[in-house]
């Protein structure tokens, strides 16, 4: 029994590893057709679902010989069997003057282009906006709770801030859509759904997270250090600036980066208020999209190459947030027992 339990519990612990690697592998496998098709240019291509005449195909068609061969006209690979069509296949299409085949070729000399630049940019911009808004406010709250407020205030306010963290993100989305968005548009102009609104709502969402982690880090400062500074006549602000923050620096920076990683992947709060328009925001008050929003809006109806493209986006998102969060965790916030 003892041996069994030990093995079983070891296996349970390993599920973390198992799940994480599985996610990578599965996402990659499903994204592979799109990766093969669009390569790394996907990251900088801003076209989405655009049909294009591919001149490569036209030229190949023209230069063909007379051999009759079965042509696989499928440009779009199916998702189920993960067969990957080599780029070469397109160029090697043999041809003859048979009318039928020429007609099929007319259909096949167009290609659908997907590029992930707009959602990637949208994700990054909305997150940066959120952090610019959230960090100063969260720092202020942390300072207030740990250094300014007397216990009879800090306790209920602290609980209130933690309740903010517990509110499901979809609620933030609804509130943003119906109340906060219009409010922002009244002040800043532009529509009531935009990059700006999304950034701010996202910011409000991460404020409690940053505030409580910062507060925890600040609390680790030994009292004796603070007392020595006060004893020298320092003001509260000076103690915070010169003693507490430097001491807690690692934890605070780590919390901010961790919050950034979380904000990158947030879906519901952003989906309601970012606008869902697949174009670059030329002004901050323009609507746009982010990766999670594209996934949420398009996943259910997609198949074939377009589904693979979505997986490509999901993989990109996962890799970016995994890297950011791991950096925060392993470099700043490591838990050693």
């Amino acid at each position: 029994m003892e041996a069994f339990f030990k093995k079983f519990s070891a296996f349970s612990a390993a599920t973390i590893l198992l799940i994480l690697t599985s996610i990578f592998v599965v996402l990659f496998l499903y994204a592979k057709p799109a990766i093969k098709e669009y390569g790394l240019k996907f990251l900088i291509d801003s076209r989405w679902d655009v049909v294009v005449n591919d001149s490569n195909i036209k030229m190949a068609t023209a230069a063909l010989n007379q051999n009759t061969t079965d042509i696989d006209n499928e440009i779009i690979p199916t998702d189920d069997d993960l067969d990957i069509i080599e780029d070469n296949d397109l160029k090697d299409i043999p041809m003859d003057d048979d009318l039928n085949i020429e007609q099929e070729n007319n259909v096949s000399d167009t290609k659908v282009i997907y590029g992930g630049l707009i959602p990637i940019v949208g994700t990054i911009l909305s997150t940066i906006l959120a952090m610019l808004f959230a960090v100063p406010i969260a720092m202020g709250i942390a300072v207030f709770l740990s250094e300014i407020a007397p216990p009879f205030i800090s306790r209920p306010v602290g609980i209130a801030i933690e309740l903010l963290a517990a509110i499901p993100s979809i609620i933030y989305g609804m509130w943003g859509l119906f109340y906060f968005g219009p409010f922002v548009s009244k002040i800043f102009g532009g529509g009531s759904v935009s990059l700006l609104v999304a950034g701010l709502v996202l910011g409000i969402m991460v404020i409690p997270f940053i505030a409580s982690l910062t507060r925890d880090s600040m609390k680790t400062t030994p009292n004796v250090l603070k007392e020595s500074a006060y004893a020298m006549g320092a003001t509260k602000f000076e103690v915070i600036r010169d003693v507490i923050f430097p001491y807690a620096k690692k934890g605070i920076i780590g919390s901010i980066i961790l919050a950034l990683g979380r904000a990158l992947g947030e879906t519901m709060a952003v989906a309601f208020v970012i606008g869902g328009v697949f174009s670059f925001p030329h002004k901050i008050t323009d609507p746009t999209v982010s990766i999670p929003v594209v996934l949420a809006n398009n996943f259910a109806e997609s198949s074939g190459m377009s589904l693979s493209v979505l997986f490509y986006l999901a993989l990109i998102l996962f890799v970016i947030s995994f890297v950011v969060i791991s950096f925060a965790k392993f470099y700043f916030l490591r838990d050693k027992r």
Partner: protein
């Protein structure tokens, strides 16, 4: 001059706190007003197909409950492994930190993963996929809580259990887990509150259904997904239902949170 800066900074900090509170109250108040207005007996006794919330409330709860059945044992026993069998090892440190990383990972990506692994082979969305997605989100949370709570158990208690001749697994079950029981249960509760409010992982795994059903092999009703769909409808009645659902959901989540924190405080 120094004192002026000090006063300004402290003032700004207080303003920040007030701002935070402002947002909280703004959200809660609008939620309550819109939500309470839309609550009536009808939404509790009818399903979505008839503009009610009944099937959604039940469905969301069922999904979360199954997620608990799957995620909690795995997470808890994994936490036990980290504390009791591999304490202090590098491996434990890595797993612990990876688990935290997983906690912050985008929930929609977990949805795409489960879509690929369950929905695609099956051929259509189903309740099991949704529950599994939620379970995957639960595991790192439960692992962490169990880990933290077991850490607090004094080592003498472990030694006393071993000293009387109990094999390790008995020491863990009879003594240590019991000693940490309150903290661990509270952890479950808070993890439950967290996943019951999730939307993204369900969007394309279990989807939604307008009908009352307990059939997990097909699209399954979900309050959160329904709110997402309803809130953007042009029909004001449907939006009101979304508000009602949002209000009930938030109330539920906040109550559990407050209750959980109260228990932890009492324990101390």
């Amino acid at each position: 001059m120094r004192f002026l800066i000090n006063k300004v900074v402290l003032f700004l900090s207080t303003v920040a706190a007030i701002l935070g509170l402002l947002f909280l109250f703004w959200i809660l108040i609008t939620l309550t007003i819109k939500g309470v207005c839309a609550i009536n007996l009808h939404i509790f006794t009818n399903d979505l197909v008839n503009n009610g919330l009944r099937n959604l409330l039940v469905g969301q709860f069922v999904l979360a409950f199954i997620a608990v059945l799957i995620g909690v044992p795995i997470g808890m026993i994994a936490g036990v492994y980290l504390q009791e069998y591999s304490f202090g090892s590098k491996y434990a440190e890595v797993i612990r930190n990876l688990s935290d990383v997983m906690m912050s990972a985008p929930s929609i990506v977990i949805g795409t993963f489960v879509y690929a692994v369950i929905v695609n082979p099956v051929g259509h969305m189903n309740g099991w996929a949704g529950a599994v997605a939620l379970a995957i989100m639960m595991i790192p949370i439960v692992l962490r809580t169990t880990d933290d709570m077991l850490f607090l158990v004094p080592k003498e208690l472990r030694e006393a259990g071993v000293a009387i001749g109990a094999p390790k697994y008995k020491v863990i079950f009879d003594i240590i887990l019991k000693a940490a029981k309150v903290g661990i249960m509270t952890g479950f509760l808070l993890a439950f509150a967290r996943i019951v409010g999730e939307t993204a992982p369900l969007l394309f795994t279990s989807g939604n259904s307008e009908y009352f059903t307990l059939d997990l092999n097909n699209e399954f009703p979900s309050l959160t997904v329904a709110i997402y769909n309803l809130a953007t409808m042009p029909d004001k009645n449907l939006v009101d239902i979304a508000w009602a659902g949002a209000f009930i959901l938030t109330l539920f989540v906040l109550v559990i949170n407050l209750f959980g924190r109260y228990i932890i405080k009492e324990k101390k």
